[in-house]
């Protein structure tokens, strides 16, 4: 009886895990919640693009080229007569996948290199840190243009280039955090229990430094979306006929379009704006929610 009593007490004791606390703090951040809802809608839009889009995004109706918004074509048609709303909806897929894939690539690279630099120190740290400095000292946009130019513009090359050039910032954060965490007694305790470097990095260090990385990665997705849009706008990104928000804006390079046909560039421009702002709001919210010093 006695034992049963203690058991139920233990299980009924109020438990507020770190994740639970962080979630509550996130919900208090109104803009972040709005951002999260917006992003969810955009993700749904990307997932169900074929169901939502009224037309085939690549269907050309040359007779209707440059036609303005109408009940049939809510956002009008572009220079070759493709439905802008449909292209905008399909473009969501490109932007989101570029953002997610590029950031995933560089977060993984940054985590591995940063943790190695911080944990092993010595010459490993020396080499990785100098590599970080080297990559950070390049003008990134020029470098990307050169590499994409050499590899040929395509959505995969964009992902790859953004992924391979984005890691230094993550690596720096991870290295700094690792230096702090590796002095924790639980790391020494793990060593004393016979754990090797790999296990200590994966089980003890990385889980304890994820907060700033998650925040950085969130902002990184927004940055990657902007970067993809910029590259596609310059013609170095996603190639037509595949629709992307950036290459839809390419049409606005002509002054007459810019001045008299706003339906061609306002929708994709707005989508880029909404998506990046929403993601940045979420990033702000996460930063506050995951900061252990906040309450």
């Amino acid at each position: 009886m006695n034992v049963a009593l203690t058991d139920s007490q233990t299980s009924l004791a109020p438990r507020r895990s770190f994740a639970g606390m962080a979630w509550r703090r996130f919900l208090r951040h109104k803009l972040a919640v709005i951002g999260a809802v917006t992003i969810s809608l955009i993700v749904l839009m990307a997932l169900f693009a074929p169901l939502i889009a009224p037309y085939d995004p690549n269907h050309v109706d040359i007779m209707l080229a440059r036609e303005g918004p109408s009940p049939d074509h809510l956002f009008g048609l572009d220079v070759v007569g493709r439905d802008i709303l449909s292209r905008m909806i399909y473009g969501t897929r490109v932007s989101l996948s570029v953002g997610l894939v590029a950031v995933s690539i560089y977060v993984v690279i940054g985590l591995i290199l940063g943790a190695m630099a911080g944990y092993f120190g010595g010459w490993v740290d020396m080499i990785i840190s100098r590599l970080v400095d080297a990559v950070l000292s390049f003008p990134v946009l020029m470098l990307i243009l050169v590499i994409v130019g050499a590899l040929g513009p395509s959505i995969f090359n964009i992902m790859l280039v953004l992924g391979l050039l984005g890691w230094p910032e993550v690596a720096r954060i991870v290295r700094g955090q690792t230096l702090a965490v590796r002095e924790e007694l639980y790391v020494t305790a793990s060593e004393a229990a016979g754990a090797g470097a790999k296990r200590i990095i994966i089980k003890d260090i990385l889980p304890n430094i994820m907060s700033p990385i998650i925040v950085n990665a969130t902002f990184g997705v927004a940055r990657a979306i902007l970067m993809e849009a910029g590259l596609s706008f310059l013609g170095m990104g996603v190639q037509p006929p595949t629709a992307s928000w950036g290459n839809m804006l390419t049409d606005a390079q002509s002054l007459s379009t810019l001045e008299s046909m706003p339906w061609m560039w306002v929708p994709p421009g707005m989508m880029i704006f909404i998506a990046t702002v929403a993601i940045n709001f979420v990033g702000d919210g996460l930063r506050d929610a995951l900061d252990p010093k906040m309450n």
């Binding site: 233990t10 305790a189 004393a192 229990a193 016979g194 754990a195 296990r199 089980k203 889980p207």
Partner: protein, 332 residues
């Protein structure tokens, strides 16, 4: 020899252990030519004030001296017939947590905050034993039960922050004994805990020793802990062992002036001398390890200092009855 245990081979023999740390100002010998033995089923106390090298002894045995700046510069640590200082890091990893375990001073920070206690323990168990996750989990629950955690089957799902300091130290002990080590190094295991919990933890360590025959090396600055929980004591001062004895004879008849000073500095409840007695203080401070005196390291603070003491360092003298002391007062 008087000790019946002398018939048993010692589990751990340390000979001439010297551990140095490189600093900007030169090399510091944190442990300098230490000889020690630990026997199965007995507790060896290592006592001394802050900075005397007592924790470095534990970390040297574990092979966890951070390198750089530290390294074992000489001597051997023979454990079950193998010299641990010669093992590769990979071989050493198989010893740590398996044959030799360690408990730390700060239970509040020695458990990874993001892992549930059960996951942490299964993790360590599966490092050393080739068993399934389910079995590892059962073993964790069993180890938690052994260290007296109430309702262990529920508690394995707790995060460390859901436990008190005493509970966490029990978890640390459970973790340390989960692979049935033959040597347990407890580095100030009770310093961060309040007195009642201290007593419980020490009793638990003694129970474990009796049940499993594990040898324990208890590193502490607390002579009260030494008196009640150890069979032999090594008193360290400035990196050297100054006295070694059976615990009883050390307290009955402390030989080294430093040991004597330490014992007089301990407050005692209900001592015979009822009149107000000021606690004894050892004057001065520990010598700078970078700039050690030529003679005895304790000479500057010693009440019985002689000319000889400042001229040359005394050797350890065996006075029989397993009592060794490093002082010019006792011959040679």
């Amino acid at each position: 020899m008087t000790r019946e245990n002398e018939k048993n081979d010692p589990l751990l023999v340390i000979r001439g252990l010297t551990t140095v740390f490189k600093t900007d100002l030169g090399f510091v010998r944190a442990v300098d030519g230490l000889d020690l033995k630990a026997y199965r089923g007995e507790t060896l106390g290592v006592v001394g004030e802050s900075g005397c090298g007592k924790s470095t002894v534990g970390m040297s045995i574990m092979g966890l001296i951070p390198n750089p700046p530290g390294k074992i510069a000489g001597g051997e640590i023979v454990f079950e017939g193998t010299d641990l200082t010669r093992l590769s890091n990979k071989e050493m990893r198989r010893v740590r947590g398996n044959k030799i375990s360690m408990i730390f001073q700060e239970p509040m920070t020695s458990l990874n905050p993001v892992l549930k206690v059960g996951d942490l323990m299964s993790e360590v168990i599966s490092l050393h034993q080739n068993i399934s996750r389910g079995e590892a989990r059962e073993k964790s629950v069993e180890a938690l039960r052994m260290v007296g955690i109430p309702s262990p089957a529920i508690r394995v799902n707790d995060y460390p922050h859901e436990m008190s300091g005493g509970m966490r130290q029990r978890v640390m002990i459970a973790l340390a004994i989960s692979c049935n080590p033959s040597l347990l190094i407890a580095d100030e295991p009770t310093t961060a805990l309040d007195v009642t919990i201290q007593a419980q933890i020490l009793r638990l360590l003694n129970q474990i020793k009796e049940m499993t025959g594990t040898a324990i090396i208890l590193v502490t600055h607390d002579l009260g802990v030494i008196a009640e929980n150890t069979q032999q004591v090594a008193v360290m001062y400035a990196g050297k062992m100054v006295e070694y004895a059976e615990t009883g004879s050390l307290f009955d008849e402390p030989l080294h002036p430093y040991t004597n000073g330490l014992l007089l500095a301990v407050p005692r409840l209900g001592s015979k001398e009822r009149e107000k007695r000021r606690l004894n203080v050892i004057p001065g401070a520990v010598p700078n390890l970078l700039n050690l005196p030529v003679g005895c390291r304790f000479a500057e603070r010693c009440e019985d200092v002689m000319e000889k003491c400042r001229a040359a360092e005394p050797d350890l003298v065996d006075l029989g009855g397993n009592h060794l002391v490093r002082c010019w007062k006792y011959g040679r």
